[in-house]
Amino acid sequence: MRFSLRLAVAFFVLSTLPVGILSYVSTRSAEQAIEEELTQHLSVIAAIQARELDRWVHSLERMIESIAQRPLVVDLTTAVIAQTEQQAAPDVTLSTELLNVHLLPHLRVEGLYETFAVVDASTGRVVVSTEPDQVGTFRIGEEYFERGLGMTIVDNVKYTPSLERLALHVATPIAREAGSTTAVLVGRVDLSVIDEIVSAAAGGHDSEDVYLVNRHGFFVTEPLFEEGYALRRAAYSEGVQRALAGETGVAWYTDYRGVRVLGAFRWLPDREMALIAEIDEAEAFAPIRRIRMIWQIAVLGAIVGFSSLGMAVAWRLTSPFRKILAGAARIGEGDFGHRIGLKRHDEMGDLAKAFDRMAESLQEITASRDDLDREMAGRRVAEAQLQETVHALRASEAQFRLLSEGSPVGVFIVQDLTFKYANPALGAIFGYEPEELADRLGPLDLTRPDDHPAGMAFVQDMLIGSALNQPLRFQGARKDGSSVPCEVMARPIEYEGEPAVLGTVMDTTLREEAERARKMADDIIQAIPSGMFIYRIEPPDRLVLSECNPEAERLTGVGIDKFQGLEFDEIWPGLTGGVLKRSCLRAHATGEVVRIEDLAYADQRIEGRYRIRAFPIPGDRVVVAFEDVSPEQRAEERFRLAADVASDLIYEWDIETDELEWFGDIDEALGYSTGEIPRTIRGWINLIHPEDQARLTGAVERHRVETHPIHEAYRVRSNSGEWRHWIDRGVPVFLGSDRPRRWIGVCIDDTERIEAYRALAESEGRLRRILENAPDVIYRYRLVPSPEFEFISPAVYAISGYTPAEYYADPRLGLKVVHPEDRQHLEEMLQGKHAAGTHDVRWLHKDGHTVWVEDQCVSIRGEDGTIIAIEGVARDITEYKQAQEALLVSEAQHRSLFENAALGIYQTTPDGRILAANPALVRLLGYDSVKELAERNLEQEGYDPGNPRSEFKQRIEREGRVDGHEAVWLRKDGKRLILRENAIIVRDEAGNALFYEGTIEDITAQRESEEQRQELEAQLRQTQKLESIGTLASGVAHEINNPLTGIINYAELISARVENGRLKEFADSIMSEGERVAEIVRNLLSFARREKESYSPARPVDILSAAMSLVGEMLAKDRIRVDLDVPEDLPKIKCRSQQIQQVLLNLLTNARDALNDRYPEGDADKRIRIAAQAMPTDGGTVVRTIIEDQGTGISEETIDRIFDPFFTTKPRERGTGLGLSVSYGIVQEHHGRMSVESELGAYTRVILDLPLATEESSKESERGKDEDG
């Protein structure tokens, strides 16, 4: 291969190799960066999702436990189950209350339960369910039920035949105390929530796929790309299998679709599921693919550009070689007088000189040849003379032969391809005797078969008379079979009258040697970059250094003057076994080049690996070329070349002309048409981004005088208007000046790399923002090789007061901030004594206060199973804890208020079942315990049946609250109470009434005293009315009495004087009517008169007996029976006996009239009951006398008026309407009370209370008697 071509190939390889390496390194590093970022991203997502899942499951457990542990739920459940066991008709109110108040409201909490069911622990039968058609079905045999009898359990996601879909059940015991489970509360979970939770974090990547599989590898949630996979399809990818083996990590593998993905996997031991988060490789590495394509284009461009450049440079570089080659060729052709004459001071010049010297040597070597040439010239002269002589001495052949016999040159005459004559020299050349040739052999017999055609042609040319101007070279065939190089010259002659050829043959062996020397020169030329040593060989085997080239000096580091004249072994003391020396001798002996491809050499001065060529050259000399092939050397050379050429575009800037010349297609690189970009520095600056222009202009001006390399980055406008990021690096060219004359530089388009890094930075920034802005502390704490934080998010400062830097600096800080009482647990966890999980621990803030933290962490195990790191998320739950404590305090306060309030406080269902009641209410209603009260229904057993709760219900349902509702209630002992209620209604979100909540106040006493007050007022009004009537009546009576007396007297006179007849009848009528009027007047006076009768103690039985003596007979006549129940030992009352007797008579008369009206004849019920007893009242002890008949009764309309004067229902002849008025007045005066209860057609009961006589009153009465007396 030609050197220039080889150089071009080297250029090509060395130019494309760095570009290729650069592209590989940059894409690989970007790949690693992206992979690292995605690994973190997926790990964080997997961790967050696992935590969210745990949080959700805890919420499920907390909610169902909080319901199941309510005392009322336990009570209601027990009651419902008891009913079911007794096969009693179910009391729907109990179940309804359990449903409406305790279960249904919790279904509305989004994302948790979709149904609840209460299952009888002993039979497994559903007794209450938020799905009514499930009541009566069984849960026996279901794992959640069997295990839920003892503890709260979250079942696996399972297929449920009756739903014909998947379901997740949570169950918890309902028990009054541990071990006495009466029922299991089962909640079914809305499974779509798992899908939502699991896929919630996915985002930012189209192919980000997060899903759960169970411990058999089956999908539990639907993956991103498929539907209907849950429990119907299994995934056995590497990620799934490793997660199922309990590993947590990230890996590349093929997913369930057969697509290659980067996946994070995590085993969730509590859930017995694996969490998988994956991103497609295609999406993850999309930016890399773009970069790679750009690099490929760049490499292709570089190949084309640098190949061309390499060719050009190689042409220029090999120009002196070519000159040397041409010179060597001429020398080789025998022009030993030719001199290359290359005037250079470098290795080329030295080589040319070496050649010139070699030519000189060759000239010397071929001196004999010159002699021969001269002999040839002489021969030609002789020949010419011979020609003349031929004519002259044609006949004197013997003389010719004589002449010929002595010639050192072979002489022959050929005719008909047969030697007619051959001189001894010819025979000597070919190893024959002359007589063996003449007339026996022909020229072809002395020619190697390869040269026969040329030989034939030559002879024929001669025969037709062509002149032979140039000698013909051929390989002669010697008699002994060997070859000899020959040269023949001939011309046509006439011999013995026939055409013939006369020629001379010369042995050219010596010339061949010269040619070989030229070939060697070629080899030497090819070893130009090597160090060359020329050794002179002194027999038998000494090699003495005669000269070496500058590269040899560089290689050995020693000048030629130090080595000259030394023996070979003295120069290369490090050579063992004389390998090199033997090679040199072999080259000299064989005349062949000897090659050693890789010789390791070391001595005290140098050390390296060399490729060696030993060339034999004339003059018993050997040229030895050393080429340094040490890897370091090669690498350094490659590096130097790579640094020079690793670029897109090379430019040359001529400072004087300001011209800018580009190597490589600058126009195409920026999308312009050829030549469109101006080739001046000014024109170039116009393409630069305005923000970069000023800086670049300054740099241009600086670099006109400064010499440090250009290294600028700026944006260049492409033809499409896009700004490309370029990096410009240049070195000055001084051209003998002390200031730069030119700058040669390289421009690299850095846009894609910058874009890729920007995308990467954005992606990284996004993740970092997530981590840094997360309110929770996210951390990874490494345990091996040494414990320290690998990452801790900035949120830790807000929680602990220490910055992440402090945590990184002090690996123990993570433990130090934990409260000493909580520290042991953490240390044990680090030792692997117990599993990671969620722990509430206290941290000590830098400023000393305590912070409650929920630390949820997982142990990361190495391949050998030891814990190598802890990853976790810590959250400040101080507020939650405080709120919890505050809640407890508040609850306690409320409970205290509730328990100790004087008011009755309650919660009831709308239909009256008591959900809660405080002790005050229990006492108020006369019960012994809350439990006893809770078994009652207020609607039926609280409110008085005559006073239903419906009005209260209507009001509260209508208005949402009731204030001051008064109603009559019944105590447990039957006593009536007047209670005032304030209550509100509590509704659910849908507006359905859940329960009533209110207070109850006992106002019975207040109401009674008010009634009494009203009664007293009425009595007062009645009294005042009577007093005014009395005053009026007494005045009228006095006025009437006198004329009436006159009327009656005159009537008596008329009656006395008239014997018989109608006049006497008239007079008697006047008298009887007059008497009647007189009776009225007396009654009036009696009513109005303030008699001064004194009060004295009297036995009630005596007064009654007196009254009975007056009416007893009359009653008996009317067949009215009198039942007397008046004990004789009743205490005395203080009274005016006559007046009380009048009252009794009045009442008995009224009773008799009523009985007679109802029963004109006799009847068993025609009787009057008279009972008296002493009775304590507010105003002291009284004797209460009740006179009751079962006569006509008094209508409601009239009962209020019976004490009014002149009001009567009797016929005019039987009553005046004053009896009860007068009686009422008398009782009033006795400070007693009289009231009437009656029902029309049924009965009338008059109650008469008269105060007892006291000692004081007795004395008073005594005094009264004295005064009267």
Partner: protein, 322 residues
């Protein structure tokens, strides 16, 4: 010489059981029913060469209702059969020498269903109603026992495969597969109400692989290979359900592809219901099944179900996992 003859007689049965070294072991498996995607795991094991790799030459015999397959199995007509575990328990009690070795259907898809217009929603509603059920089925007695009724309280009609008798009112309710008869009734456009036995505490395996007892005792290794290859078949089907369903057509080309896909989709959740892996069995579930059948009066109170199954072949298979 006599001794040699005696030795020959003793060795003869042993030699019979020795497998041919070069060839495959022939195994006959009787299916529970006619060919359909319900048995896709078997087809997959056959088509993918799992049986052959396990050194087995398996002959699949589809189920005809003419004989009592488990009795025939006990008599040596087959090596294995896929059958109903309740029938198996009853026959083991009666002395038939068979052993359950793997549970393919973790949940029995048999349900009671009726036309919605009949108003039958609960087992109590079956009182005095005409119900199509096979006399050997445990479902009706077990469910009735749960709500305090007995088989005598309903009219169990003669076995029938003609759903038209349900549509016409000849029967009030029907006992059938959720994956088959219920699917068909719904496909026929009827509004169906289903009573799920699991809602009444009646939990049982569905198709169970049952082996001859002598085979289990003499050549456990062969049984192990059959079970492992069959479960490999099911594992493959869970990854390739469409191809799995289509394999049924190779056994009965008259089947409708879409229908087979639908049947397999319905069957899969019964084969892996979320807890135990395919094929797995537990002592607890067998005990519960037997207890339920004792409660319903199908099994004697003294019968010990432990003789009817062995976990020897499924535990290691299940533990291997995916």
């Amino acid at each position: 010489m006599r001794r040699l003859i005696l030795l020959g007689l003793v060795m003869a049965p042993i030699v019979v059981f020795v497998r041919p070294v070069a060839g495959l072991d022939s195994v006959r498996i009787h299916l529970k029913w006619l060919h359909s995607a319900q048995f896709a795991g078997l087809y997959a094991a056959e088509a993918n060469g799992f049986f052959e790799e396990a050194g087995l030459d398996v002959e699949l015999i589809d189920g005809a209702a003419s004989e009592d397959v488990l009795v025939a199995l006990g008599d040596g007509a087959y090596e294995f059969a896929l059958a109903d575990p309740s029938r198996h328990l009853a026959l083991v009690q009666a002395g038939v020498p068979t052993v359950a070795v793997a549970a393919i259907f973790q949940i029995d898809p048999v349900v009671i269903f009726s036309l919605s217009e009949s108003g039958i929603r609960r087992p109590e509603d079956l009182l005095d109603k005409r119900v199509m059920s096979f006399p050997t089925s445990y479902v009706i007695p077990a469910m009735l026992a749960r709500v305090g009724l007995t088989v005598g309280d309903v009219q169990i009609g003669p076995p029938s495969y003609d759903l038209g008798e349900l549509y016409s009112g000849a029967y009030d309710a029907w006992s059938g597969y959720l994956t088959n008869e219920v699917r068909r009734a719904r496909a026929d456009g009827h509004d169906i109400t289903v009573i799920y036995p699991t809602d009444y505490g009646v939990h049982a395996y569905g198709d169970v692989l049952i082996a001859r007892r002598d085979l289990v005792e003499a050549d456990a290794e062969l049984v192990q290979r059959v079970v492992a290859a069959l479960l490999d078949g099911w594992t493959w089907v869970f990854e390739h359900p469409d191809e799995g369903a289509m394999m049924a057509l190779q056994w009965d080309p008259s089947l409708d592809p879409a229908e087979q896909r639908e049947i397999l989709a319905l069957c899969l959740p019964f084969i892996h219901a979320g807890d135990v892996g395919p094929g797995g069995m537990t002592v607890a579930k067998w005990s519960a099944m037997a207890e339920m059948m004792r409660h319903a009066g199908i099994l004697d109170p003294s019968f010990d179900e432990a003789a009817a199954y062995t976990l020897e072949f499924v535990d290691p298979v299940e533990d291997e996992g995916p």
